[in-house]
Symmetry: D2
């Protein structure tokens, strides 16, 4: 082993064999969903099938949010100049930061802080949540994960929590964000738990490291960015002026999944 | 409708409602896998459950290929300087190009050219494949999708083709790549169909536009890049010299899926 | 020398000594302008002081073109989400492609083709230019480097050609683009040589490889992108909707250089 | 003025006229160097000719540092996969962060903190510097801008300080970094002021906002990255394994500027 040698625990490559965290990729194919494989890649172990479903749901729920978010606009702007697909998607990814897609990690931080404080002080979550809401108000800061520009009831939150319940992973993360929501309401501000807050709570409960919290938004959104870039390059002329909001949906009409 | 107004057919946003290609996202969550949602986002319609499984398998098979590919090394190099997660992943994406991850589209082009020529000339696929192999040899060009630096039998190809068979989508794409493989063998060169070639054939048979062929590699690899970046930043010291091949796998031992 | 060893001819690093193409960096500092150093880095030799001035002028002329170009909008969009400076500038760079900033290389290609054809056929430039204009019209293609969306007389072109004249580098590149402009006019279309066309002609005459033609636009524009990103982050609120054209200049009033 | 209208103070575009901070670009061309134009773009006013020379020197000194820095390796890695020039340069830019190219801003922060503290407390710089060195040692943190992995005397620092002296801008930034260097030496650690530290001190003295401190490294390095990418794509085969240090300089021999 030379001086420059280093280690990795993700994937092992041998002739005719690729193993992800110990499992043969070709054995995984057709037997696990992509959501399950993502969990395996990041956590190093296979999820139960229910947790796997939850992972798929977390990815599905953020796959696209239309053409208005900055990541879509940056990707379309690059695409409009003739960028290759990967470069346009990269421009989109570079627009996922603190103020867009960053609420997951910010919310995880608050939740972890609250949980820690309850543990250290022996207080109830409700009490801790009340304190935190008070502190954030005093500092004139928003608590990430609560409230939404457009949605007064984020339809994705309810679904995520139901699936988490089924998977049996609901724990202190969910408890704490509900306590915070309650404390806000008690302080006179009724706010929905938004999709970022819901994901944050579930990642805390699945023991996913905070540093990769926003990665779930990124992984989910990449296919959406691909769709945005492809639509831009196949439907619009190069170098058009892209108005950030003045567009109209003309895709398939509202429809329901088959029973 | 103002002069600057434009259209999009991907996602419709209304208060408390997000619809992807007409379906409510919260209805999709828990009922479709991420692979199925990707198909919906890009094709505009839901896949059958078997085609959905195939989509998941296509994404699973390319999720990671260790620390040696340039996309992993570029992402780790950026990560090592203290890049944020999205920036490091973007550096990885920018290293997915013609020579790395680009074989899907190049192979789709050959397959579509062969299919077109068979249709125009009325020749059998075997005949057309023989001609193409001859022409590529004369031009001293490789046919993308055949052969692999490491794997003499790509274990992922066999699995993809089996799943495609189950999904009932196997068609002229698969037929043409097999004809090309046969023509190469007849010309004295036994080469495996590699994973890019297999994906290319299946995308042709699922009628996915060639311009987004490489997107399947990108979407699949993003979680792998997240894992590589996270490992770099949690396990290694900043600014280390990253040897491109001299690393050792020290993750979970080889194991099999539970029955 | 190990198997993996490779060579580079740009910069030599030794303790207490950095040499760019053979010259000590600390000796260059204060004695050459950045434009001259760019020429040295890319061509491997020092320019005359007149050619150095021309290089500075080429960089100065593209340093910024306001907030409307896609590179500025993509950089501002990323910046608006809280991107770090390098990430926002990278998003801008990724929006410099064929349709924006790409005219330099496209024009160099036409000029080199014309020069080559004149050499091979023994024709005058005027004749070749007439043929090319005819061919492009027949193919319904524009000749890059002629015409501008906003400027009917690009004020930067005249200045570049005057400086090139002073530097004594005016040669077949400039001659050919003027021949093309003349042939267009003869065909009934009066078009200015735009700044990309002027730069293209001068790069041909300075024997700069075409593959790095667009790099001059990129190198020049990076400081402009820095200014755009800094203004966005210091003057605007995060996540605002960035209208692509509806902005007003409120900087210093029109003024002239001191004598 | 519509609701979405916004303001910019950088560049004004009118037909046949481009004005940077009030000055016609075509008037600037040939009369100011690129370094002077960068100062104008970022500060909003023209530098004196001496300060302009200093700006050029700041850019020249960081134009390239060979093939070993992560920004060069990331750019080469992307280039090696067939990336377009802008994408490869972007991958390089994304590798300029806290641990590489980030020392300028970190050092500016220490200098500004020290200057502020001296002002508030009425202490001499030497005293404040002694305190800061003590505090950093206690916290086991390095002071950015002092020390270098390779150079025991950074040849670029001396030159920058001499040019700043000529330009008459040497002020409290330079005074403070020298005080810190002295305090370190007094504490038993002789360290050179490195090029980042020197630039940091001069930017403080020129009253450049700290948020764009690292931009000077980025703007300077882009041409170096262009040279690295171009060399990679013109000299090496695609997808080679790029050893991070095992390369040899084979460019022009050591030479001196003509008198």
């Amino acid at each position: 082993m030379s001086e420059s040698s280093w280690n990795t625990s993700i994937t092992e490559i041998n002739p005719n064999e690729v193993r992800l965290r110990g499992y043969r990729i070709d054995e995984l194919m057709g037997r696990v969903t992509f959501g399950q494989a993502v969990y395996l890649a990041l956590k190093g172990k296979l999820p139960s099938s229910e947790v796997g479903s939850l992972m798929d749901a977390i990815l599905v729920c953020s796959i696209d949010h239309g053409a208005t978010p900055p990541s879509a606009l940056a990707a379309r702007t690059a695409a409009s100049t003739g960028a290759s697909l990967n470069a346009a998607v990269a421009a989109g990814l570079l627009s996922i930061n603190r103020y867009h897609g960053g609420a997951i990690e910010d919310c995880m931080m608050v939740l972890e802080m609250g949980i820690e404080r309850a543990k250290d002080s022996g207080q109830e979550f409700v009490e801790v949540a009340g304190e935190l809401v008070e502190e954030y108000r005093a500092a004139k800061k928003r608590i990430a994960g609560l409230g939404h520009r457009i949605h007064t009831q984020d339809p994705r939150t309810h679904r995520l929590f139901a699936l988490a319940e089924e998977a049996g992973i609901t724990d202190r993360g969910v408890e704490m964000i509900r306590a915070l929501q309650g404390a806000m309401a008690a302080a006179g501000k009724e706010l929905p738990i938004n999709v970022d807050g819901a994901i944050a709570a579930l990642l805390v409960d699945m023991d996913i490291p905070r540093e990769i919290g926003n990665a779930f938004f990124m992984m989910a959104r990449v296919p959406g960015l691909v769709a945005q870039v492809h639509e831009e390059q196949s439907r619009e002329r190069p170098m058009r002026r892209i108005h950030p909001t003045d567009h109209i949906y003309d895709g398939p009409e509202a429809r329901s999944l088959p029973e």
